[in-house]
C-alpha cells in the first residue's frame, strides 16, 4: 500500500511536470543564451580565423550590462 502511494505521488507529479515542460518554449532554446549567438557569429566572421578574441572589449557587452556597469561606477 505504501509502495503504491509513493509510486502514485511520484508518477503523478512527473506526468504533470512533463506536460508543462512540453509546452515551454525555453526547453530547447534558452532565451538568454540566444543573446550570445548573433554576436558570436558576427564577430567570428569579422575577425577571420587567425585572430584570437580579445578579453576586454566593452563593445560586446549587451546594453543592459553596460548600463549596469555604469550605474555601479
Amino acid at each position: 500500500m505504501i509502495d503504491y502511494l509513493a509510486l502514485s505521488i511520484g508518477h503523478g507529479l512527473i506526468a504533470i511536470a512533463l506536460l508543462r515542460l512540453v509546452m515551454r518554449d525555453g526547453l530547447d532554446v534558452d532565451p538568454f543564451l540566444q543573446a550570445f549567438k548573433p554576436k558570436a557569429s558576427g564577430r567570428r566572421k569579422a575577425r577571420g580565423k587567425t585572430r584570437q578574441p580579445s578579453h576586454r572589449d566593452a563593445s560586446d557587452l549587451p546594453k543592459d550590462l553596460e548600463a549596469g556597469e555604469e550605474t555601479q561606477r
Binding site: G10, D28, L33, R44
Partner: protein, 257 residues
C-alpha cells in the same frame, strides 16, 4: 498490473518526446534511477526498456536536437579515459566473464555521463533534469522512509520496491543520494517562469537565491563555448556572473546560495 502501468507511463513519456526529444533523455534517467522493469511483473520484464530509452535519447539528440552551445569539457574527457580504462581492464581481466558482468553497469553509466552534458543546453533542461531526479528518488525515499518510520528497520532490513541490494537500491547509496539531493528540493521555482513571481507581486523567497547555481553553470558553459569560438563570450571574461544573471531578468538570483 504494475508492469502495465509502468509501460503506459513509459509510453506516455515516449509520446511526449515526439514533440520534445529531450524528454527521452529524461525517460532514460527515470528508468535508470527507478528501474521500473525490476518493480513490475510480466511484459515489462521482457522488454529492454532501458535500451529503448537510451536509443531514443541518443537518436533523438542526433536527429532532432539543434546542438547549440555544445562543448566537450575536460570532465567528459576524463570520463572517456575512465571508459577506455574500464574497457581495457575488463577485457584483460583474469576472469573476463565475471568482470564483464560486474562492470556492465559501469560502462553504461560512464557512456551516459559523457553524453548527458551535450543535451543540457538550456536552464529549463537543467531544472527538468533536477526535478526528475528528485521525484524519481523521492518515490524510493518516501516509500522506504514510511516503512521505517511506521514499522522499524535496520541494516539489511529495508524493504525497497525491489529486493536487490544494488544501484540506488543499496541502502548506503540511497542515503547518500537522498542527503545530496536536499538542496534541490528547495528549488521551489522549478518549471515556473521567474517572471511569474514578479507579476504576481510576490517577493521571491530567500531560497530562490540558491537558484543561481544552475544559472552560473549554464552561463559559464555558454561563455566557454563562445570563448572557444572566438565570439562575444570571450570578451565577457571580466564580467561577473551576477551581472550576466541580471540580464536574464532574474534580479534576485546572484549565483550564490
Amino acid at each position: 498490473m504494475m508492469g502495465l502501468i509502468f509501460l503506459s507511463f513509459i509510453g506516455y513519456m515516449l509520446l511526449l518526446g515526439a514533440r520534445r526529444p529531450f524528454l527521452w533523455v529524461l525517460l532514460y534517467v527515470y528508468i535508470d534511477i527507478l528501474a521500473p522493469q525490476r518493480i513490475g511483473f510480466g511484459l515489462i520484464q521482457s522488454i529492454p526498456v532501458s535500451l529503448v530509452a537510451f536509443l531514443a535519447a541518443f537518436g533523438g539528440y542526433l536527429v532532432f536536437d539543434k546542438k547549440e552551445f555544445v562543448s566537450f569539457s575536460w570532465r567528459q574527457g576524463l570520463l572517456l579515459a575512465l571508459l577506455a580504462y574500464c574497457f581495457w581492464t575488463t577485457g584483460n581481466a583474469d576472469f573476463a566473464e565475471s568482470a564483464a558482468t560486474k562492470w556492465s553497469w559501469v560502462w553504461k553509466a560512464l557512456l551516459f555521463a559523457i553524453f548527458l552534458p551535450f543535451t543540457l543546453t538550456s536552464r529549463l533542461r537543467l531544472e527538468a533534469m533536477a526535478l526528475l531526479m528528485v521525484l524519481a528518488i523521492g518515490m524510493i525515499v518516501i516509500s522506504t522512509g514510511m516503512k521505517i518510520t511506521l514499522g522499524g528497520g535496520g541494516y539489511g532490513n529495508l524493504k525497497f520496491f525491489v529486493d536487490d541490494n544494488s544501484g540506488i537500491y543499496e541502502s548506503s547509496t540511497l542515503a547518500t543520494v537522498a542527503i545530496a539531493l536536499t538542496p534541490l528540493i528547495y528549488r521551489a521555482d522549478i518549471l515556473v517562469p521567474a517572471d511569474t513571481h514578479r507579476h504576481r507581486g510576490a517577493h521571491r523567497p530567500v531560497m530562490h537565491r540558491g537558484a543561481g547555481g544552475f544559472d552560473v553553470a549554464l552561463h559559464q558553459k555558454a561563455r566557454a563555448v563562445c570563448d572557444r569560438r572566438g565570439g562575444a563570450g570571450a570578451d565577457r571574461a571580466a564580467v561577473p556572473s551576477a551581472k550576466l544573471l541580471r540580464s536574464d531578468g532574474d534580479h534576485h538570483s546572484t549565483g550564490r546560495g
